[in-house]
């Protein structure tokens, strides 16, 4: 079973996020990490590989520095990696990113493509669906459970009310929810081995991408403006003078929480 895990390098979740006031693009010069959701995707792929054999390949689009985070996925146990990296790709939106990934995926063989549910910086959660659409593959998102016999998938898809169980033929594209598993911690063997695993960097020319569909120029969306979220207000403080239980109940009732 050959599995491709698509990963992204994101701005550290704890880092202070800043937008460039003219382009409204995210300042990525702060510390970067492997998108936390993608760790679940890598783990899920490794578990399937342990069951069925095959290869786990990591696919990433990002600056050259993203290779460091791709190596983390390799340290966890993925076999090889492809990094799509080119200055022309900077500023790509959902559609541009999905296009580039899909074009790369068309050159690779796979039974399953796994994404993290969303990135912690862009937060759209749309790229996996767009890639599936471009590849013409079935797509299931926000999975909280995944099993496979090698030819079909049995999954649980999380909803607000619970989950829906699906069967799905392979090849397919899926995205996994946080908590579907506990991502493994890389061993020293994994870390040392990752340095020697193949990591191929491909640029726009190598993939034969249409320049008009990628980068800031090819973006189908445009950020018009942005503003800082208002700071949180102090909240309501109830001092206990004997009537605090009533006051808390009143407060919750007023917020329609009771």
């Amino acid at each position: 079973m050959n599995i491709i895990v698509c990963v992204k390098q994101v701005v550290d979740t704890e880092a202070e996020k800043r937008l460039d006031p003219t382009s409204w693009r995210l300042d990525r010069t702060v510390p970067n990490i492997l998108n936390p959701y993608d760790e679940y995707a890598v783990e899920e792929a490794l578990k399937l590989k342990e069951q069925h054999g095959g290869q786990v390949t990591v696919l990433c689009m990002g600056p050259e520095g993203a290779a460091d985070d791709v190596r983390k996925a390799l340290a966890m146990g993925a076999d090889d990696a492809v990094l799509i990296s080119d200055a022309a790709l900077a500023g790509s939106d959902v559609m541009g990113t999905a296009y580039a990934l899909a074009e790369a995926l068309k050159t690779m063989s796979y039974d399953l493509i796994i994404f993290g549910n969303r990135s912690t910086d862009g937060e759209t959660g749309c790229v996996p669906a767009a890639v599936a659409e471009l590849l013409g593959r079935p797509f299931l998102s926000t999975l909280s459970k995944m099993e496979s016999d090698g030819t079909t998938l049995k999954v649980h898809r999380e909803t607000d009310l619970g989950y829906v169980a699906y069967d799905c033929p392979l090849p397919a594209v899926v995205s996994v929810a946080k908590g579907i598993n506990e991502p493994r911690y890389p061993t020293m063997k994994g870390i040392l081995g990752a340095k020697k695993k193949p990591l191929e960097v491909k640029d726009v020319a190598a993939l034969g991408l249409d320049i008009s569909k990628i980068g800031l120029g090819g973006a189908k969306t445009k950020v018009l403006s942005a503003r800082t979220a208002p700071p949180r207000t102090a909240g309501t403080k109830i001092e206990d003078d004997g009537s605090s239980a009533q006051k808390i109940a009143d407060f919750l009732a007023a917020e329609k929480l009771l």
């Binding site: 550290d12 979740t13 704890e14 880092a15 202070e16 510390p31 911690y185 061993t187 994994g190 081995g193």
Partner: protein
């Protein structure tokens, strides 16, 4: 030579052969371990050997050690008497020079009496009182019995020999003399028969003891002196082996099988006398966790005894080239011999090693097994894994964003090294002091005091990262080394030479572990610096418990009764017990209260060794136990010097001292309040 002599020599040869065989076996098992070089500083090693073995220096931490002292010296003196007995059995009338020496005989009987009484006390403690740290085992009984009857048979034999009329020199042996008087009435022939029987009883007991030594815990008689000689000469805080991690040939970075330990670590197992002092002082054992440092030793020893022959054969085969066969049948230590619960329960508080009379090194064995779990298997408690990921991403185990690391000092305008003046000291704030709300107050108090004394300093700001202490101690050597290298590079780049730390764990790591990475600094804890500043008169605590500010305007309340808690990493690891006490005692009207377990016997708060980042589910909580011990002194305030202790003691007070007004304050906070007149405590005033 007498017939007895001939028979004796045959028996002696058999006994010696058995002794040599069993001892040789165990020596070979020890050599199955990885080599470790401990033959440096020979004069110092030899000096320590004399001091610890003949001086019995580590035994006097408890009164019961006095009994061991007498048994040890009794054995040596009585051995001369026994030599005489053996000799005269082989050749009638043979006398060593000391045989008829009044002083020697007197010393022998005094010590013999003390040993016999001592043995009775030990039997009482082990089998009647049944101290929990001691097993009422048959093995211990056999040993105690052998010693007891060896001495009794010696008395009796000498008594029958001296009768009917002891010489004036023989009267030195007052016990034997007393017996000789008692048996005067027996006929000379009867006495001779009895004397012969007693001779054989004495000699056979001695040989039985000899053979029993290498197969019992009494092997410590031989292995402990060797262990004292080979003891670690490194500072306590610098004893964790720095691993070379770039070698891809290495199959395992931690220890998963018994042969993965070093020979010195295996020697420890045979040096252990199962006295259980370690267990009495272990926060894990004392709070109902699976771990006991004593059973760590005895379980590993039993396992080594069992696997020894096969491992020895495998090692031989490897050497002779007769088929390279690794002994893969040897099971993993973890799971089969040690449980993960045991391995994760250790707080690395060093109390076991502080107490151990034979200089065993427990902590590194635990860390070696943790290294296997973390670096070879990637299996460790989820919460510890989260802390490790937080450190990787944000440079602190709390997971607070690295850019906010210096926010605690924003309004204080503290100089940041590299941007402003470096100053005399670099103030190493540490993770807790930078990002934990409670500990930030301590960092601010330290700044206040330093400024009051006119000490110039700077901080690393957002360039400071976790020193690596908890990561190294949970077994994540890889992450520790990354942090150490990065921090050392930063510090060296700025030309830092003097560092003062908030946290004793940082202190230990910077002082004792960074030199291996090229970081050589003069590192002190802030309590040490404060004590120094008080001596120099640069700090003058202005306000007492009932005092006023210099202008008389504000009445302040400083605590009067402070129970001081020694942290492990300032106390046991650095031996620094006095500086924090000196700071507290400098405050007018402040009384320092001592818990029963204080200084080197202080009880861990429960957070060291990465335990801060793990759930504590088994038994009861270490911090609550410690708070209970401190509350026995009826304090207003529990005084601490470590951010981990601060957090743990506050949690403990909240759960066991509800309804009291006991506060937990750092020494820096108490001192700062006295300098500024701010209220530091609510001592009920």
């Amino acid at each position: 030579m007498t017939t007895t002599g001939i028979v004796f020599i045959v028996v002696l040869v058999v006994a010696l052969a058995a002794f040599a065989y069993f001892l040789g076996q165990r020596v070979q098992y020890v050599l199955v371990g990885r080599p470790e070089y401990r033959f440096d500083h020979l004069p110092r090693r030899f000096g320590g050997f004399l001091y610890f073995v003949f001086g019995q220096r580590k035994l006097f931490k408890e009164w019961v050690g006095t009994i061991h002292f007498f048994i040890f010296w009794g054995f040596i003196v009585i051995a001369f008497g026994t030599l005489q007995i053996i000799a005269e059995g082989i050749r009638v009338g043979f006398k060593f020079p000391w045989a008829e020496n009044f002083g020697f005989l007197l010393a022998k009987d005094v010590l013999s009496l003390l040993v016999v009484l001592g043995i009775l006390v030990l039997v009482y403690l082990r089998y009647v009182v049944r101290k929990t740290r001691l097993e009422p085992s048959a093995e211990a009984g056999i040993i105690l019995g052998l010693i007891f009857f060896l001495i009794i048979s010696e008395f009796l034999y000498s008594g029958f020999t001296y009768a009917p009329e002891p010489t004036s020199a023989q009267r030195g042996a007052f016990l034997a003399t007393a017996i000789s008087t008692g048996v005067e009435g027996i006929s000379a022939g009867g006495r001779e028969v009895a004397r012969n029987i007693l001779w054989w009883i004495h000699v056979l007991l001695l040989l039985a003891f000899l053979v029993y030594i290498p197969v019992s815990k009494h092997l410590h008689l031989i292995m402990c002196p060797v262990n004292e000689f080979l003891r670690s000469l490194k500072p306590r805080g610098g004893q964790i082996e720095t691993l070379y991690l770039e070698n891809e040939e290495v199959e395992e970075f931690g220890v998963s099988k018994i042969q993965g330990f070093t020979s010195k670590q295996l020697l420890d197992l045979y040096a252990c006398a199962e006295c259980g002092r370690c267990q009495d002082h272990c926060p894990a054992s004392q709070s109902g966790k699976a771990l006991s440092p004593k059973t760590l030793m005895t379980k590993l020893r039993a396992h080594l005894d069992e696997r020894g022959p096969a491992l020895r054969a495998a090692a031989k085969a490897l050497k002779t080239g007769a088929g390279v066969q690794e002994d893969d049948d040897t099971p993993s230590l973890i799971g089969d011999v040690m449980s993960e619960d045991e391995i994760w329960a250790c707080t690395t508080c060093y109390s076991c090693q502080e107490q151990c009379p034979v200089q065993n090194e427990h902590v590194n064995k635990i860390i070696a097994m943790r290294r296997h779990l973390v670096m070879d298997l990637g299996e460790f408690p989820q919460e510890a894994m989260l802390a490790a990921r937080n450190v990787e991403k944000n440079g602190n185990p709390w997971g607070v964003g690295q850019q906010t690391r210096a926010d605690w000092a924003k309004d204080l305008e503290v100089a940041v090294a590299g941007q402003g003046e470096l100053g005399e000291y670099l103030f190493w704030v540490g993770c807790a002091g930078s990002v934990d709300d409670r500990s930030i107050k301590v960092s601010r108090a330290i700044v206040q005091v330093l400024r009051h004394a006119g000490v110039t300093f700077s901080i690393l700001g957002t360039a400071e990262k976790c020193c690596g202490d908890p990561m190294r101690r949970i077994g994540n050597e890889y992450l520790f080394q990354m942090l150490a290298r990065e921090n050392v590079e930063n510090l060296n780049g700025l030309g830092v030479t003097k560092i003062v730390t908030n946290c004793p764990h940082c202190l230990n790591t910077l002082k004792h572990e960074y030199p291996a990475f090229g970081g050589n600094y003069q590192v002190i804890h802030y309590t040490e610096l404060f004590a120094q500043l008080l001596t120099e008169g640069r700090l003058k605590p202005a306000v007492g418990t009932t005092g006023h500010r210099a202008d008389g305007a504000v009445k302040t309340t400083l605590p009067q009764r402070v129970a001081y808690h020694d942290s492990c990493y300032l106390g046991r690891y650095q031996g620094q017990y006095e500086a924090p006490r000196k700071v507290l005692k400098a405050l007018p009207g402040l009384e320092v209260l001592e818990a029963k377990r204080n200084r080197s016997k202080s009880f861990c708060c429960g957070a060291g060794g990465g335990r801060m980042w793990m759930e504590e589910e088994a038994g009861h909580r270490v911090n609550e136990a410690r708070v209970g011990q401190l509350l026995e002194t009826s304090p207003q305030v529990i005084g601490v010097n470590c951010p981990y202790c601060l957090i743990m003691m506050e949690d403990g007070v909240k759960s066991v001292a509800t309804g009291t007004e006991v506060k937990v304050l750092d020494v820096a906070e108490i001192l700062a309040a006295s300098l500024t007149g701010q209220e530091a405590a609510t001592g009920g005033h």
